[in-house]
Amino acid sequence: MATLEHSVPRTAGGLLEWFTSVDHKKIGILYLSSALVFFVLSGILALVMRSELAQPGLQLVDRQTYAQLFTMHGTGMMFFFGTPMVIGLANYFVPLHIGAPDVAFPRLNAFAFWLTLAGAVMAFAGFLTATGAAAFGWTAYAPLSGDAYSPGTGADLWIIGVALSGVAGVLAAVNLLATIFGMRAPGMSMLRMSIFNWNIVVTSILIAFSFPALTVALALLWADRNLGSSFFEPAGGGDPVLYQHLFWFFGHPEVYILILPFFGIVTEIIPVFSRKPVFGYKGFVFATLLIGAYSFSVWAHHMFTTGAVDGPFFSATSMLIAVPTGIKFFNWIGTMWGGKIRFQTPMLFCAGFLFMFLMGGITGVFLASPPLDYFVHDTYYVVAHLHYVLFGGSVFAMFAGLYYWIPKMSGRMLSEGLGKLHFVLLLVGMNAAFFPMHQLGIDGMQRRIPDYPASFGYAQENLVSTAGAFLIALAVLVFFINLFVSLRRGPLAGDDPWGGYTLEWATTSPPPHHNFHRLPPIRSARPVFDERRENAQAGPEGGSP
């Protein structure tokens, strides 16, 4: 088999290299690093919130600061951690999965990353202004977010910052779609792509068609604040509910943007660690598409209590999403069934994901029923639900993905021992932090409050929840220690430490500049597996696949 020599472009070298690189792998790592930085930042904000809430009374921060904390925690997690984490993983692994040397538009790719970072820095820069950061929740409902009620510059910085990173998201999504549609290696038909790639396809479509609604909402909000228009000001003939329609037409697809790629990761890892193909490939593809299409028609389930939306319509469409999600669950079980499962760290996090996301998905069906939503909307029940989905779901799957793929990105294995410790601490911490919130919500504790009277009887659950939050912090600390130690001294990974199926395992760790010196033949969704099996059959020295 002939190997191909590519002309490797000159690189600037040193730190400057990171600023000028247009290599999808470097940009992927930039995305991942910046996402992790904002994960830690937003997580620290959450720790301050949890410390404040540990007991009745205002001890640590004042009310205005608390409002900034939950606003920037939500904003940071959704826009500057979640979305960039998804795009970063896609950046690194989509070209590898389809056997391409890079993405379709490498420079645009770099631009999208720097624009995301610029937006994130701008929104968080609000903390440096005299009046502090934005303080109207990550949803920025008008008219509270208008100039009359939120006069500070922090609010404008938030609007422009989020808008910039929103535009960057669309650019990244178009780039990913072009890459997947146009740069697949010969033999890599759509129905041989990894399930991860399928999820990125649907995610990119969601980004491309939902982020514009956010941009419109933010532009109108900016005009209301700065040009004196009144799109959302009832006094001037505007309608606050219009803002919510625009926001949630983006906002609901956004939560699928934050979960679909992680479904994809889990669907990559479970088959490899069960040593079986995925159960029901087409079922997964079909379910992913269905979730994508449905997610455009459910936005107003966040607005049942406005009394201004059609309850039955949005209830029906939202509950329908449970069906494709159910298919995925049973196909995951079907994939493990009859396998030989190895519980290394990536698989452990997948196991955690399955149980935690199941919990979050089920409470989601409650929220899709208007009478129940009238009851628990805007309480800690919702905070519990969304963290089971986004923390128990996305973050667990993210860690699964990181333990699975960092050996590929760095060439070194992460420590299994620390990984298991990380997993146990995170699982315990996450349940301690978020499970009691269900009960708090049922007992009537609203979200976004810095304090509660002792007489309401919320103290016990809140104390447990705060303790859980600090366990989470400890777990994340263990992860970073693992990262720092293992990247220096971890055992070498080799090309394929897990017995993988997809093309990233057919190249070196880390991959060369053009990704592949040679590609195995692509005759199924598991080209690396196929080749390994053929080699094993051809010669006894090949060992078992």
Binding site: F19, T20, S21, V22, T153, I160, L164, F181, A185, I205
Partner: protein, 136 residues
């Protein structure tokens, strides 16, 4: 039709009746607009992609970009190497352009005069970026 376009067609096939049903049930204007806009946007993707592909029936680079070559038939071939390809070298323009957007954005917060250096930098970046592409 090929798999890629079918994706978009399928979303339109769901969103169009959803928009109609939504309007019939609720007579609510903004949601109906958004769902219809989704159908139109998706349709625009499909139409422009189809138009692009007709102009270049050969699997040239642009058509390849849109994934129009019939990949299924190629799948019979065995081990294939990638065609040699020149990837762009490092470039400072993307990061600089993002900085330009950042400064221009500050103009939207602190007043228009911030936009002047931002836009100047933006123009410089566009020119620099384009000439860099030309040179390669």
């Amino acid at each position: 039709m090929i798999e890629e376009l079918r994706l978009f067609v399928r979303i339109a096939l769901y969103a169009a009746p959803a928009a109609a049903l939504y309007w019939l049930l609720s007579s609510e204007v903004s949601g109906t607009w958004m769902l219809s806009a989704l159908v139109v946007a998706v349709a625009m993707w499909v139409v422009s992609a189809t138009a692009l592909s007709r102009r270049r029936p050969q699997p040239s680079s642009a058509a390849r970009l849109l994934g129009f070559e019939e990949t299924e038939t190629e799948s019979q071939r065995s081990s294939l190497e990638l065609a040699p390809q020149v990837l762009p070298g490092p470039s400072a323009w993307p990061a600089a352009a993002a900085l330009a957007a950042f400064v221009t954005g500050l103009g939207a917060v602190y007043g228009g005069w911030f936009a002047i250096p931002g836009l100047l930098l933006g123009v410089t970046c566009t020119v620099g970026w384009l000439t860099q592409i030309q040179r390669r």
